[in-house]
């Protein structure tokens, strides 16, 4: 799909990633452009809304879509009281994003065929009982700080879909779960042990992240961006830095970009080691968790020693990175790469040859490639269902453009495939770390960030360990954040988990869930 085929007025955004912005799409173009993207195999990356009523412009809704030459950001100004055409029939992943936009901004999707009706699924999503349905926290007349609505402590009255029939019963799970994981609610409809339906209810962790950004300067926002989803702090911090550097018109030194890539691969390996341990454990092999968690602890300790934080929080900052690495540090990482490669190879053999483990992994929680494609599964889970998409390959930012990243994919879409992709990605990330260290140029690690233009849009787009993280930033006056939307790939993948578990038994749910390992915090915001 060539950009000119869209018949939109497009302007390129400066920055590390290829992004085009249609600043003023028209209502009729909204669905047409989405349909065109979909027909060519493109995907919806994120959907969010903004309030420009203080500038006399009303609300707007934005969609970030993948096209062959990069990312297309469609902005649709809403002239008719905050309504826009539903696109969830084109991109099923849009459903929850649209509902969240309605909860937070009061803009609602209308039925594509009959604009007098709301979209078929217009239930609330992120809103529970903390604020009433006629109050919209992301509107500009809602103050950035403080809590102008009385603390709601009422019941969250949410209409779950009921499954009828003889012998069907419901198992409600959460929000407080049995293990050390994040809170969310799962409603299983089962017959015996077989799952007929799973419905998720998320939003328990909604803590007002997007509104919080609006009280911050561009410099202050970096720290919050690194805490949208703690397990992906490097990916978010880099995406945030990319967005800021885009609006400020600055490029970090090459050494800093290489170090960012080194940190991103460290984060990927650290998380994959962790998940592989837990996946073994959830299938009854405690040995796997003991071994992988030992490797991971060693990994975290090196991160702390060399970069000052076990999870690398605040290591990536706008303009560059916070900390340089010296020759002994490089030697230490090289030795670590060798150790981890050997240890993981041995553990992989043990996993592969363990009949009991493979019996639990294979054919469990399967998402076939056709379903993955239709629902828009992304990131690591997508690659395990033959969705060959990795930003480091498709649109490699510096320094990835020099490395020919080898994407790990698998066609089976089951737990075993997601395990295999993780093993493959550890190997590739170790290789990349070696290449980065060899290519590491001398020079500065950080440059000052000049003042940003007001009302500028900056996009950051990074392939984190879970999938693509997107930051959409709009500046206000005086280097302040006017609006910021952080988007986690979990938005796309949570709905697919509801499908992955169908036909499986309830006791396999923890294993299936872990094999996706989605973020609650990154989704609930």
């Amino acid at each position: 799909m060539r950009l000119e085929d869209f018949q939109l007025e497009l302007s390129p955004l400066s920055g590390a990633m290829p992004v085009w912005h249609a600043r003023r799409a028209e209502a009729r173009q909204w669905r047409t452009a989405c349909r065109q993207v979909r027909d060519k195999g493109g995907r919806l990356v994120a959907l969010w809304s903004t309030d420009n009523s203080d500038r006399g412009e009303g609300y707007a809704v934005h969609a970030a879509l993948t096209v062959h030459s990069g990312l297309l950001v469609l902005t649709l100004p809403l002239l008719n009281g905050g309504r826009y055409p539903d696109i969830s029939d084109i991109f099923p992943a849009a459903n929850r994003m649209q509902r969240a936009a309605c909860d937070l901004m009061g803009v609602s999707a209308e039925d594509a065929a009959d604009s007098r009706k709301n979209a078929a699924d217009s239930r609330k999503w992120l809103r529970h009982a903390a604020w009433p349905g006629d109050v919209f926290p992301l509107r500009k007349n809602f103050p950035a700080e403080g809590s102008p609505v009385p603390a709601g402590a009422g019941q969250d009255d949410y209409p779950f879909v009921q499954v009828g029939g003889e012998g069907v019963h419901e198992i409600p799970v959460g929000p407080v779960h049995a293990g050390t994981i994040e809170p969310g609610h799962f409603r299983f409809s089962v017959v015996g042990e077989g799952v007929l339906r799973l419905e998720e209810r998320l939003g328990y962790k909604h803590k007002g992240v997007e509104k919080r950004f609006e009280s911050m300067t561009l410099a202050e926002g970096a720290r919050l961006a690194g805490r949208v989803s703690g397990d992906s702090t490097v990916a978010y911090a880099w995406a945030y830095a990319m967005a800021v550097e885009s609006v400020a018109g600055v490029t970090p030194p090459l050494r800093a970009l290489c170090l960012r890539a080194l940190l991103l691969e460290r984060e990927r390996i650290g998380q994959h080691l962790w998940d592989l341990g837990f996946l073994g454990n959830d299938a009854g092999l405690a040995f796997g968790l003991a071994q992988f968690s030992r490797l991971r602890e060693d990994w975290l300790r090196v991160s702390h020693a060399l970069f000052g934080h076990r999870y690398l929080m605040d290591a990536v900052v706008p303009g560059g990175v916070a900390r340089d690495i010296d020759a002994p540090g490089i030697a230490r990482i090289r030795a670590e790469i060798d150790d981890v490669r050997k240890a993981v190879a041995l553990l992989r053999t043990i996993y592969d040859e363990h009949a009991g483990l493979q019996d639990r992994f294979i054919a469990c929680g399967r998402v076939k490639p056709e379903l993955a494609e239709r629902l828009g599964l992304t990131g690591l889970a997508g690659r395990a269902s033959a969705i060959a998409w990795d930003l480091r390959v498709q649109f490699p930012p510096v320094p990835y453009d020099g490395f020919e990243v080898r994407m790990a994919t698998h066609g089976n879409g089951d737990v075993a495939a997601r395990v295999t992709v993780r093993f493959d990605e550890i190997g590739e990330s170790l290789r990349l770390m070696g290449l980065i260290l060899s290519a590491l140029p001398a020079g500065e690690i950080r440059v000052p960030v000049p003042d940003a233009a007001e009302h500028a849009l900056g996009i950051g787009w990074v392939e984190g360990w879970r999938g693509e993280v997107l930051i959409a930033l709009e500046t206000g006056p005086g280097n302040r954040i006017r609006r910021l939307h952080p988007h986690d790939p979990s938005w796309q993948n949570w709905p697919v988990l509801e499908h992955a578990v169908l036909g499986n038994i309830v006791p396999d749910f923890p294993l299936i869930n872990k094999s996706f390992n989605l973020s609650y915090s990154g989704h609930d915001l």
């Binding site: 962790k205 803590k207 397990d231 968690s293 991971r296 975290l300 609650y520």
Partner: protein, 170 residues
């Protein structure tokens, strides 16, 4: 199987010494007598509640189980129900959407209901603070005995907080 057993033997025992307790972490005066505390030494059960964290603290709580920290080696374990728990380990600023769940979990926990709040957010509300969606620090919602700062606190700091809550002053 041979490889698996050989790897266990090769790895050996990695467990390190636990940290000393630190009375400075207490937010309220010790409210249990030595007789009660003695029962928790070597047999403490914890229910973790994530009340709205960024999930960073959860990474470190999970790390407590790795062979280096080996929390279970001290007789301390995580349980699935608050009804089986002596202590709640609470992370995050408390989101308003988790407020009811946290209070109910607290109500379901038997006395003496020890509570350890974790992380900068659990101690003060952290970077998320108080807002239309967040109640801020854990002690705004339930009573807290020990608060452990850090973003996230290291596994050693978390262990120190847990051990402080059940330490017997001599």
């Amino acid at each position: 199987m041979f490889q698996l057993l050989r790897q266990i033997v090769r790895t050996g025992i990695k467990t390190e010494a636990p940290p000393e307790t630190d009375e400075a972490l207490r937010t309220t005066a010790e409210r249990l007598n030595a007789e009660v505390l003695r029962r928790f030494q070597g047999a403490l059960t914890i229910r973790h509640v994530d009340a709205g964290s960024c999930n960073g603290c959860e990474l470190e709580i999970n790390a407590l189980g790795n062979p280096y920290y080996n929390l279970e080696g001290l007789g301390i374990k995580f349980v699935a129900s608050p009804r089986h728990a002596d202590m709640l380990l609470v992370t995050g600023p408390v989101s308003r959407h988790m407020e009811v769940a946290l209070k109910r979990t607290y109500d379901a926990t038997p006395e003496p209901k020890l509570v350890v709040a974790l992380g900068d957010c659990g101690c003060t509300g952290g970077i998320f603070g108080e807002s239309y969606a967040s109640r801020g620090r854990v002690s705004n919602v339930i009573p807290v005995d020990v608060a452990v700062p850090g973003c996230p606190p290291t596994p050693l700091a978390i262990m120190q907080g847990i051990l402080t809550a059940i330490s017997i002053k001599t």
